[in-house]
Symmetry: C2
Subunit: 288 residues, 2 copies
């Protein structure tokens, strides 16, 4: 086929000195919302993938890792989640994983970017099916503004926002963590993207995030996953909690009894995900 | 500086459809040995790095992960390692980590490629210092041929060979695993590079490797690390053992008492490294 002879590549700078390139079959969509440029590509290696301002947000071949790890880890710890707030998450992948849990009554999604939701509905039906769950309500609002109205309202807040420097900068401020704390019930948990710790350019963001969460919540731990399209293939998540400890209050039997099908998460891996490399432990400890 | 304006990149195909690029400051060395082309580069992000036939073998900024994980994991399990064989390992990084252990009496290195050793001595003194340990003996021989002469001789064999398809193909055969078994004492351990499981192109190698080790040793487990220059940033190691189990016989207190300085390995991480993603567990189980 002629297709395989053409050199057609998407490239992402992971730092100014390291680049990841993905061979592309087709550029399916390009649009600019109020917040960002959104593109959709088909690729032989990662399947279909979406970019925001030129950064890969997720791909068909690996989104399971991110969505499973940000949902099942807190859900296997908190014994009774009824009300969940997802900040960002307009693609539906997080909602899809949440929809496996029968005890959840409300899944609120605060996603300011309606174009992002529409693009995902059209091009990523396997993610967007999560938005069809009857418990889901989408609020096309800025996450920080949405949170300011909330008090003692949620059992779990998932911050699915990815870009600490762009339009989502407000979701990485001290005020944001304080508002999350206020919006949670007394035994609430908040999980968030903690970035990639390996490259020097990313390390300061990673430090600042831990500093803020550690000051705002009595329990603040970090866990990890391998996500190939992330810088260095390595991603951290934050687990900030008012009462439950991610390991001491983890109930593997209860989670296993649900029979949720996964590709990445296991109850073994749950524990292993909190066992971090020495250099990451050192970075975090220095901010505590 | 003009340097920062020049686009000068080393590129490695991780699959035919995914590429990693590293900005280069200088190309310090290029030579072709009997076995392969060897190059050395300086880069702003990974420091100095070495390539073999165009594949990154290690870089200053991340070699610690690989060398620590392949040495400290078995050393924290086996209670009394006196004789070690390293297959490949001519750069000295594995020997450097082994040199922290006083009880070791012999570190034999079977490295056919003398040019590789010479290049590492010149350009990577922080690795090659491992070769200066008085217990180290370098045999410039093919690993498989060296092994055929060995019987009941070692407590630990570390297969540091990286290229299952090139000149080191013999080190990934069924005969190789059988010869390692024979060369080990009754309570010996063998560790080896298990490759990256994420991309389809790598998965079959990963399966074949587990199949062979699982048939050759009573205990055969796989553990993981994040190594940014590896395909998908994700690397597996094999732990094949005649007697000791990597978790049940793991002695964290004994290892801690040695006070070895690390950047990646911790005794927590030791356990976590064996807790694998579901899709990796499934691949391995299918070959058992």
């Amino acid at each position: 086929m002629a297709k395989s002879k053409m050199e057609y590549w998407f490239e992402e700078m992971h730092t100014s000195n390291v680049k990841m390139s993905i061979r592309v079959d087709q550029h399916l969509y390009s649009g600019t919302s109020e917040f960002r440029r959104i593109d959709v590509f088909d690729s032989p290696e990662f399947g279909r993938f979406l970019t925001s301002n030129g950064n890969v947000i997720f791909s068909e071949q690996e989104e399971f890792t991110y969505d499973e790890m940000i949902v099942h880890v807190p859900m296997a710890v908190h014994p009774d989640v009824k009300r969940v707030l997802v900040i960002g998450g307009g693609d539906g992948g997080v909602a899809r994983e949440l929809s496996h849990y029968k005890e959840i009554e409300v899944i609120d999604i605060a996603e300011p970017d309606k174009m992002f939701v529409d693009v995902c509905r059209k091009y990523f039906p396997d993610n967007a099916i999560g938005l069809e769950d009857v418990r889901v309500r989408i609020y096309y609002e800025d996450g920080l503004r949405f949170l300011r109205k909330c008090q003692d309202k949620y059992d779990l807040i998932i911050n699915d926002a990815t870009d600490p420097l762009g339009h989502e900068a407000g979701l990485f401020t001290k005020e944001f963590y304080g508002n999350c704390y206020k919006a949670l019930h007394d035994d609430g948990i908040m999980v968030y993207q903690h970035g990639s710790p390996f490259f020097d350019e990313d390390e300061e963001n990673c430090r600042a995030m831990h500093r803020k969460a550690f000051k705002s919540f009595p329990i603040s731990r970090v866990y990890q996953a391998h996500i190939p399209t992330c810088p260095a293939g390595y991603w951290l998540f934050g687990f900030a909690s008012k009462k439950y400890h991610p390991i001491k209050d983890f109930n593997p039997e209860r989670w296993e009894s649900r029979n949720i099908k996964t590709w990445y998460y296991t109850t073994h891996l749950h524990k292993g995900a909190f066992m971090l490399p020495k250099y990451v432990e050192d970075i975090l400890k220095e901010e505590e």
